[in-house]
Structure formats: structure tokens, C-alpha cells
């Protein structure tokens, strides 16, 4: 499957197994061992990491309107588009910390609006957090402390495949805790990973995702010792909800997991908020923590980097003409969807996955994964290295508390995102 012979070899011939950090999901597993032979073997890998580490370099040539060109010409054309733009949109932003540092620098020069490809989801968590805060935990705490996992609206493993294997069914833990119980509430997907190694099945409370706002409100009311004047809420018996609440209260350290990416419903933000409020209420007397799953493609990395460099997470904009230049923040107006109608240039970045840009009438520059396919060829396409495979980098895990180095695993034939952005920036200065 390796098509480009120069990109085939993992870095050092003498090494048989290379320890690797996998950016394919927010768990950022760093216990992988990638074999230095063909076909590539991936020890401790999940299906996502197998695909990630075994992908080949398919295309190394930049192009303009679908016609191959050299990197210089592509960079020049990109520079020209941004130079003539007064309201550029930088979207996608599928990158890690080092790439985002370069994105921010270019955004300051170009006066760009910034939005991440998954922010339709991410922003809902952010808004809930900005409204009332939250109480959360991190992966090592879950692994050692959690004796109850409540998954709301998600099976967890579709987005984060090794969650149960690594953090729930681990044999070792620091505090001699019991094997955790698992409850799925309105989960979609495959809940079989919630069955313990000794065959203990999870509790499954079946409900539609769209009914979660009602169900969470009922749980909050029950947590405040209110009596519900109903036998069931959205098809879920109140007895079942009381049982869920009793288990959370009885647990020494319950962890409530949600995935905002799965909450494709009206009132998703309110649902998140009612989850975090339930956690806050229960923490008055016992210990319960939240664990929001992320959506991937560097969302934690780019929002953290954006926050320390600009003061804001994404959906922000650098206003060149304001007070000598400063950032502003607007989760509604600065969305990709809104800006596609207003921008006069689109820079789309997706380095981890070959996600193509949304269609736009504005001149479009695409920098990213070499496999990207287009229905309409962009003005400029520059394939760049994949962080964690072609180039090193720094990546935040889903819980934002841990950042890990990503390694270059094979010989580099593609430029890095930062290289390309710096070259473009020089043309704008």
C-alpha cells in the first residue's frame, strides 16, 4: 500500500519498533509500537490508529485549479489571494499546537477570522462552560478512581475506541477500587464495549437523543429531591431515572461522559448545561466529575493555543484596523457557515484527515492532507506533512490537561504546515 518509495521507510533502519503517539482520536494514546517493516504493524493500536499509521503518501505535488505546480508557485498564488483579501476566513484548522502558532501569526498579518471544522459541536461545550462553568476530570483519574461510568448520548468507543480497554477495564489501579459499573443513557452506536471482561453487562437506559433535554431536566429535578408528577419522561420510566441517580450518589467517584458531537439536536447547549449542573449539584455531597469527549482534528490543541495567544478560543478574528490590531470573539458571526457568505478568501487547513473544504465562491487555498479529493479544484492546493507521521508536533489530549509530543515516523517528503504558512506570511509583510 506504500506507493511512494521515498516515503516508505520509517526513520531509522536499525530500529524495529518505534514507540508512537497517535493523534487519530482525543485519547492521544502514546503506548503504540509501530513496526518498521512492510506491511506496517501497529501494536496496541485501535482501528483508527491502524488506518492512521498505515496510510501512504499518495500525492506530493501542489496544484493550482487542479494542475500540478511547484511549491513556490503555489505559495505565491496563495500569498496573492490573501494580499487581495480584506476578510479572509481561515477554517478547518485541523492541526496541532505548532501549526496553530503559525496559523495565528498569519491570521494577525492577514486579519483573518478563525474557525475549526468541528466547532459546531465544540462551541456548544464552550458556551455551556462560559455560561455556568463545569466540574471535570481527566483520563488518569478515570482509570484509577472511577467506580461508575455514565455515558450520555454516546457509546464513547465510536469516537474514542480504547476508552474502556484502557480506562475502565484496567486491571491495575491505585486505590483498590471495584470494577466500574457502566450505564449508557440514550446511547447511540455499539454499547458492547461497556460489558466488563468478566461478562457483567452495562445498564442501558434506552431513549432518543432528542429527548435528552427532558431526561436531563428530570434527573436534575430528582437530584434536588423534587417529586415528579409523572411515571415516565420521554418513554423512560421515572423509576429507572431514580435508579440511575441512586447509583451515581452511591459511587465513590462517578464519571459522567458526554460527547457534544453526538448531540446533534436542538438545545444541545442546554443539554450540556443540565449535565454539568447535575454534576455540580451532586458534588455538594459526593464526588462526581464530568468528562466531555472531544471531536478531534486538533480541536483541543487549536483552542488552547488560540486562547493563550489571543485571549479567546476559536471563532475569533484579528481586526487589523482596530486600535493597532486586536482580536475579537463571536461564536455566532464568526462561524464558517456565516463567514462563507462574507469572506473574500478561504484558507482551509486539514492536516490529520483528508477533509475537503466546504464549497465557496471566494478564492480558496487548501493546505493539508495529501489525499484530499475535491469536487471543485481549489485555486491553490498545497499538500503538507501529517503531524505524528511525517512531522513532529505537540498535541493536546481531549482533557486539555496533558499535551504530548508527536513524532515524525517516516522520512519527510512534504513541507510542514508551518513552513508553508511562514512562506506565505513573508509575502504579506
Amino acid at each position: 500500500m506504500w506507493q511512494n518509495p521515498t516515503a516508505m521507510k520509517i526513520l531509522d533502519d536499525s530500529v524495529q519498533l518505534i514507540s508512537a503517539t497517535c493523534p487519530a482520536c482525543g485519547l492521544l494514546c502514546d503506548d503504540l509500537l509501530v513496526g518498521n517493516s512492510t506491511p506496517i504493524s501497529v501494536k496496541n493500536g485501535c482501528p483508527k490508529s491502524q488506518i492512521f499509521f498505515r496510510q501512504a503518501v499518495s500525492n506530493t505535488s501542489p496544484s493550482m485549479f487542479g494542475v500540478d505546480c511547484d511549491l513556490n508557485a503555489a505559495v505565491k498564488a496563495a500569498g496573492k489571494i490573501l494580499l487581495h483579501s480584506s476578510q479572509p476566513l481561515f477554517s478547518g484548522l485541523g492541526t496541532e499546537v505548532q501549526g496553530m502558532r503559525s496559523v495565528m501569526a498569519l491570521a494577525e498579518t492577514a486579519g483573518a477570522t478563525l474557525d475549526h471544522m468541528h466547532s459546531e459541536s465544540t462551541v456548544r461545550n464552550t458556551l455551556a462552560m462560559q455560561n455556568s462553568g463545569w466540574q471535570t476530570t481527566t483520563l488518569t483519574e478515570v482509570k484509577n478512581r472511577a467506580d461508575l461510568i455514565v455515558a450520555i448520548g454516546t457509546d464513547i468507543v465510536t469516537s474514542h475506541p480504547r476508552f474502556f480497554e484502557k480506562l475502565v477495564w484496567n486491571a491495575d489501579n491505585l486505590f483498590n477500587k471495584a470494577t466500574p459499573e457502566v450505564i449508557f443513557l440514550a446511547a447511540t452506536g455499539n454499547t458492547s464495549a461497556g460489558t466488563s471482561p468478566d461478562g457483567h453487562a452495562p445498564t442501558i437506559v434506552t431513549a432518543e437523543t432528542v429527548d435528552l433535554p427532558a431526561i436531563m431536566s428530570a434527573l436534575n429535578a430528582l437530584a434536588h429531591n423534587k417529586k415528579l408528577d409523572a411515571h415516565e419522561i420521554a418513554g423512560v420510566s421515572v423509576t429507572a431515572l431514580i435508579a440511575v441517580l441512586a447509583k451515581i450518589k452511591a459511587a465513590k467517584y462517578a464519571v459522567i461522559v458526554w460527547s457534544v458531537g453526538c448531540l446533534k439536536i436542538p438545545h444541545a447547549e442546554l443539554t450540556v448545561q443540565s449535565i454539568t449542573q447535575l454534576i455540580a449539584t451532586l458534588n455538594e455531597n459526593t464526588r462526581v466529575s464530568g468528562l466531555p469527549l472531544n471531536s478531534g482534528d486538533g480541536d483541543s490543541s487549536i483552542n488552547n493555543t488560540s486562547a493563550w495567544l489571543s485571549g479567546y478560543p476559536t471563532r475569533n478574528r484579528f481586526n487589523v484596523h482596530q486600535r493597532g490590531g486586536e482580536f475579537s470573539y463571536d461564536t455566532y458571526h464568526f462561524s464558517t457557515q456565516q463567514q462563507l457568505n462574507n469572506c473574500d478568501a478561504l484558507l482551509w487547513i486539514s492536516t490529520f484527515n483528508a477533509y475537503a473544504p466546504p464549497s465557496s465562491v471566494a478564492p480558496t487555498i487548501v493546505i493539508g492532507h495529501p489525499d484530499m479529493q475535491f469536487t471543485q479544484a481549489p485555486d491553490v492546493f498545497i499538500p503538507v506533512g501529517i503531524p505524528g507521521l511525517d512531522q513532529s508536533g505537540t498535541m493536546f489530549r481531549m482533557d486539555s490537561s496533558v499535551a504530548l509530543p508527536l513524532k515524525a515516523m517516516r522520512k519527510q517528503v512534504l513541507p510542514t504546515l508551518s513552513d508553508v504558512l511562514r512562506q506565505i506570511e513573508t509575502l504579506l509583510a
Binding site: 463545569w134 483519574e141 484509577n144 491505585l174 504530548l404
Partner: protein, 558 residues
């Protein structure tokens, strides 16, 4: 190339210079002796009538790492405060407070524009140290460094509970300094952050952690001994138990006793100096605390002064922040348990001068400043941003130097709070020499930055030049010039050249054998590899901007 700074009035306590008019010569970023007449002076600046001090050093300021970034994300509305030109509270002046969550760029700029040339992140969670260094790397103009937090991490608590010998503790502490590229060790609510994860809500100095059955006293004794044995210059940095609780001064006094003569630094001590007298069961215990500091020469402290206005408190102390979250303003907070390593609590606060407790907190901080005799052992901090943003330092300096200004402010406070404070009876006014001690010479000595904080030959040429003015707030808010490593970077209070500072670390010797057990621990219990936990020096220097300076430590004495 030699730069000559002529006729400046030097306040350089390390070298005993109190307002001496003297020329300074700079070459290659360092202060040199007067060159011979044959050597060419390339640049000469006349500083007649100006006050010259070494660049100031903030030894406790939350400038990097997860907590502040959480605050930035939770409080986007705070960025608007950059635009405020009027103070928020009526007793404040324009430099008083405002921007509690600056970006890294603004952090570097605002510090250097006040004449500060270094700041230290005091609560670097080892597991989050990479983020702290990423943020500090993106902080221009100033030098920086971090204190690694220990004492609530399960590896240490296991060592202590298992009765491991002091050598095992020392090796782990030294290893942590190396692995996290830190220059000091901090303890936050010793044992309390961990105990909160077991649903304990309070941990006194001699109370047992419910799982490990060790006390905060055991933890502090073990870690202060380790820091001392390893010869680390920076004494153990201690955020005492019971932060913010009425009556907590007793815990603080017991902590001073628990130090047992070993060096210990008590941080943001204002938040730990509360009594329970009066109708509201909240009173000042500043006198008791100051007396204890005066008596115990092994103890130093920074104040953590509060100033009025909107800010956010960002602390590793999840246990106490869970309680403080009830007073959040605006009403939101983030509380986290983190990685069997520590935790955090981010709670926005608005300190109001008409609020009894806030007004008394303000007075307590100043009472401590004015009642501790030795300026080498008390440091000027607001625990940025917890008491107030660091940009309010010029205002705080005026409060210390100008009795009538202070008393006028005091007279505007909540009347019940006034009745509970002896501030007006404290007539002391800090001198420029004392200010230079507590903001320059003192912190450099405390942290072990031997070539900073002074203007002697061989020192790094970090120099702040102020126009002498009777309004000390105006004077310290806008230096005439600031030199960083010999380069002129600020003129008339504005950055004219962007530079990138260094990161200070301590790297004591230790037995690398400790890694065998750590590796097993990481493999069994952690969710990351030991190799990835460690931060390589090249991670800080690879972008060509940052660099590491390994601070020379005391030789091992025992």
C-alpha cells in the same frame, strides 16, 4: 559595543547602593566595570535625575499553564477590560487593575512596560508542565520559570505513606525538577487536593488524609527537607491549608512551626491571615502572622494583596475553590481533578470596597506589608490574577510608599472593616531602597538568580530607569527606559523592540535509579509514557526564541 548610562541614581540593595549617583556600562548584555579610556563607547544615555534599578522580578504570578487558559476560555468577556480607562472601584487609580487574563503577548508587554524583566509561574502541575512552558515560550520580553507542584500527587503520597526514606523522596523531587524544567517546588494545600478526590472537604495541618493516613505536616516536612537537602536555592513554596477560611491564621502559625527551622516560603499569606473575631467572625490576624515572620528568620512570604475590581482566582486548590465557588462573580467556575497529580479551581471574583470581607482583606494585606520588618523576606505580589492583575503593582507600590494616599483610600472602605483594622496606626512608608529589595534584590536572592536583581559588575543588564516623581504610581507605571540583557526595549513606557527571554531551571544531582520505579508506576497507573512526561530542553529552545538557563544551586550540605 559598549553602552554607557550616565548620572543615574542607583537603588541597588545587593551592592548596598541607596540613591548613589553612578554610571553603568554594558557590553554583551552584561554590566561591566568602567572601561579604559581607549575603549570606544558606542552609545551614551544621560540619566540625570532618573532612578535606576535592576529589572523587577515577580516571584509569584500565574502566567502560564492550564488554569489561566481555562480562565481565558471561560471568561471571554474579560478581554473587553483592556479597553477600560476608568478604574472599576472608586478608591482605585487607572493602574489599579483591569485585565486579569491577558494573552501571553500582552503579559510580556505589560510586565516589561512596568520595568519587570522576569516572572515565575508558581503552580506548574508536573503533568501540565508542557503547556506551561508552551505558554511561557509565547510570552515575549521577560525571563520566566516555574515551580513544580508536589505533595498531592499519588506517587509522592505513596512514598510517604510507605515510609520510604528521605533519599527516595529527594531523588523523586530532583527528578521532577529535571523532568518538568522547573526551578522550585511548590505545595498547594498539602494533601488537601488529593483528599478532596476522596470527598474530604477540609484538611487541617495535623488531620490525616483518609486514604494515605499522612498529614499535611508530614508532607511539608518531607518536601521542605528534600528541597533543603538537594541544595535548591528557592525554599519550598507553600500555599498553606485552609486558604481563605476564617480562623486560618492558626494553621499558618502551625505551618511556620512545622518548618522546624528549615527555609520555607509562605505564599499569598494575606489569604492565610484571617481570624474569627468580631460580629461577623472574620478579622485580621496580620499582627500575629507578621510577628511570627519577624521571629522566624527561616520564613519568607509574599503577600498576595487584593485590590478592588473584577478578577479571577486560579488556584491548584480544588478543595477550597469548591467552597469559594459559592461566591463566584460572575456566577461560574471550573473545578478539576487532574491526573492523580493535582487539581485546579478557577473562580471569578469581584472584590468590592464596600464589602466587609473584601475591604478587610485589602487592609490585612497592607498590614502585613507594613508589619514585617525585613524587606528581604516579604515580597510584593497580588498573586496575579487572584488578588488583582499584576498591572496594579504601581498602585500597590504607592500604597506602601505614601501614607496619606493609603489613609485616604482606607477612609473610603466599608466602615465595619475600617473598625476592624489598625492600618491607620501603621505609619511606615516604604523607601525606594526597600521597594528595590522586595521587587528586585530579594526575589533574585530567593530564587537563586545570582546575576539578576542587581546592578553590580557581571550582572545581566536588565535595567529599569524611572523618572523620579512624588506620585510613585505614575513613576512605576511608566519607566523612561528598560534594558533587557543590555538592549533598549522600552522607551517612555512602550515596547520599542520585541525580544524573548530565557527559562530558568534548577537541575540538582540525583540518583537516576529512581526512574526504574517511576517507569513501572507510569506503565501501571498513568495514561502516558514516562518518556513523554519528561520535557526535553530542546522543546523550549527549538523555535529559536527560547533558551534554558540552569541556575547554579547551593552545594549539597548534608
Amino acid at each position: 559595543m559598549i553602552t554607557e548610562l550616565k548620572n543615574g541614581k542607583l537603588y541597588d540593595p545587593t551592592n548596598g547602593k541607596d540613591g548613589v549617583v553612578q554610571d553603568i556600562y554594558i557590553r554583551g548584555g552584561r554590566i561591566i566595570a568602567k572601561p579604559s579610556s581607549t575603549e570606544k563607547i558606542s552609545q551614551s544615555v544621560d540619566l540625570s535625575g532618573k532612578v535606576v534599578m535592576a529589572g523587577a522580578i515577580d516571584m509569584h504570578s500565574h502566567i502560564g499553564g492550564g488554569k489561566i487558559n481555562i480562565a481565558r476560555m471561560m471568561l471571554p468577556e474579560f478581554q473587553e477590560s483592556r479597553r477600560y480607562s476608568e478604574p472599576e472601584a472608586h478608591i482605585c487609580s487607572p493602574n489599579c487593575s483591569h485585565h486579569a487574563t491577558p494573552s501571553t503577548t500582552e503579559t510580556g508587554f505589560r510586565y516589561i512596560e512596568m520595568g519587570y524583566t522576569a516572572a515565575f509561574e508558581p503552580a506548574m502541575m508536573p503533568i501540565n508542565a508542557r503547556q506551561a512552558h508552551l505558554e511561557m515560550a509565547d510570552t515575549p520580553m521577560i525571563d520566566k520559570g516555574g515551580y513544580a507542584m508536589l505533595g498531592n500527587d499519588d506517587y509522592f503520597l505513596r512514598l510517604l505513606a510507605a515510609g520510604k526514606d528521605q533519599k527516595a523522596i529527594n531523588d523523586y523531587v530532583a527528578w521532577t525538577l529535571h523532568a518538568t524544567q522547573a526551578i522550585g517546588i511548590k505545595v498547594v494545600n498539602a494533601g488537601g487536593i488529593s483528599a478532596f478526590k476522596f470527598n474530604q472537604r477540609k484538611l487541617d495541618l495535623d488531620e490525616a488524609h483518609s486514604f494515605y493516613q499522612v498529614s499535611a505536616r508530614d508532607i511539608l516536612k518531607s518536601l521542605s527537607r528534600a528541597v533543603y537537602d538537594l541544595g535548591i536555592a528557592k525554599p519550598l513554596h507553600v500555599h498553606c491549608n485552609n486558604l481563605g477560611a476564617a480562623g486560618n491564621f492558626e494553621t499558618t502559625l502551625k505551618t511556620i512551626e512545622a518548618a522546624d527551622g528549615l527555609p520555607m516560603h509562605l505564599t499569598h499569606i494575606q489569604f492565610h491571615s484571617y481570624g474569627t473575631e468580631g460580629d461577623r467572625k472574620f478579622s485580621s490576624a496580620a499582627a500575629e502572622i507578621a510577628q511570627a515572620i519577624n521571629q522566624h528568620k527561616n520564613i519568607s512570604a509574599d503577600v498576595g494583596q487584593i485590590l478592588f475590581g473584577q478578577t479571577v482566582t486560579a488556584s491548584g486548590d480544588s478543595m477550597m475553590q469548591q467552597i469559594n465557588a459559592k461566591h463566584a462573580n460572575p456566577k461560574k467556575s471550573v473545578i478539576m481533578d487532574i491526573e492523580c497529580d493535582a487539581g485546579c479551581g478557577v473562580v471569578p471574583f469581584k472584590y468590592r470596597d464596600q464589602n466587609f470581607v473584601n475591604a478587610l482583606q485589602w487592609a490585612i494585606g497592607l498590614e502585613i506589608f507594613l508589619s514585617v520588618n525585613d524587606p528581604w523576606r516579604i515580597f510584593l505580589t497580588t498573586d496575579h490574577p487572584n488578588g488583582a492583575p499584576f498591572t496594579s503593582y504601581p498602585h500597590l507600590i504607592r500604597l506602601l510608599m505614601d501614607k496619606s494616599f493609603r489613609n485616604e483610600a482606607f477612609a473610603k472602605l466599608n466602615l465595619d472593616a475600617q473598625a476592624m483594622s489598625n492600618l491607620k496606626s501603621l505609619t511606615r512608608e516604604y523607601s525606594l531602597y526597600e521597594i528595590a529589595i522586595m521587587t528586585r534584590a530579594g526575589p533574585a536572592k530567593l530564587i537563586g538568580m545570582h546575576d539578576r536583581g542587581h546592578l553590580g559588575v557581571g550582572a545581566g543588564a536588565d535595567i529599569a530607569v524611572y523618572n523620579e516623581q512624588t506620585d510613585r504610581e505614575a513613576m512605576f507605571s511608566q519607566p523612561a527606559y528598560v534594558f533587557k540583557d543590555g538592549e533598549l526595549v522600552v522607551k517612555a513606557g512602550k515596547v520599542i523592540k520585541v525580544t524573548w527571554g530565557a527559562t530558568y531551571t534548577a537541575q540538582p544531582e540525583f540518583d537516576i535509579g529512581v526512574e526504574q520505579d517511576l517507569k513501572q508506576y507510569f506503565d501501571r497507573y498513568h495514561t502516558m509514557q514516562l518518556a513523554n512526561f519528561k520535557i526535553d530542553a530542546t522543546e523550549i529552545s527549538q523555535d529559536g526564541r527560547g533558551r534554558i538557563i540552569v541556575s547554579k544551586q547551593h552545594p549539597i550540605t548534608s
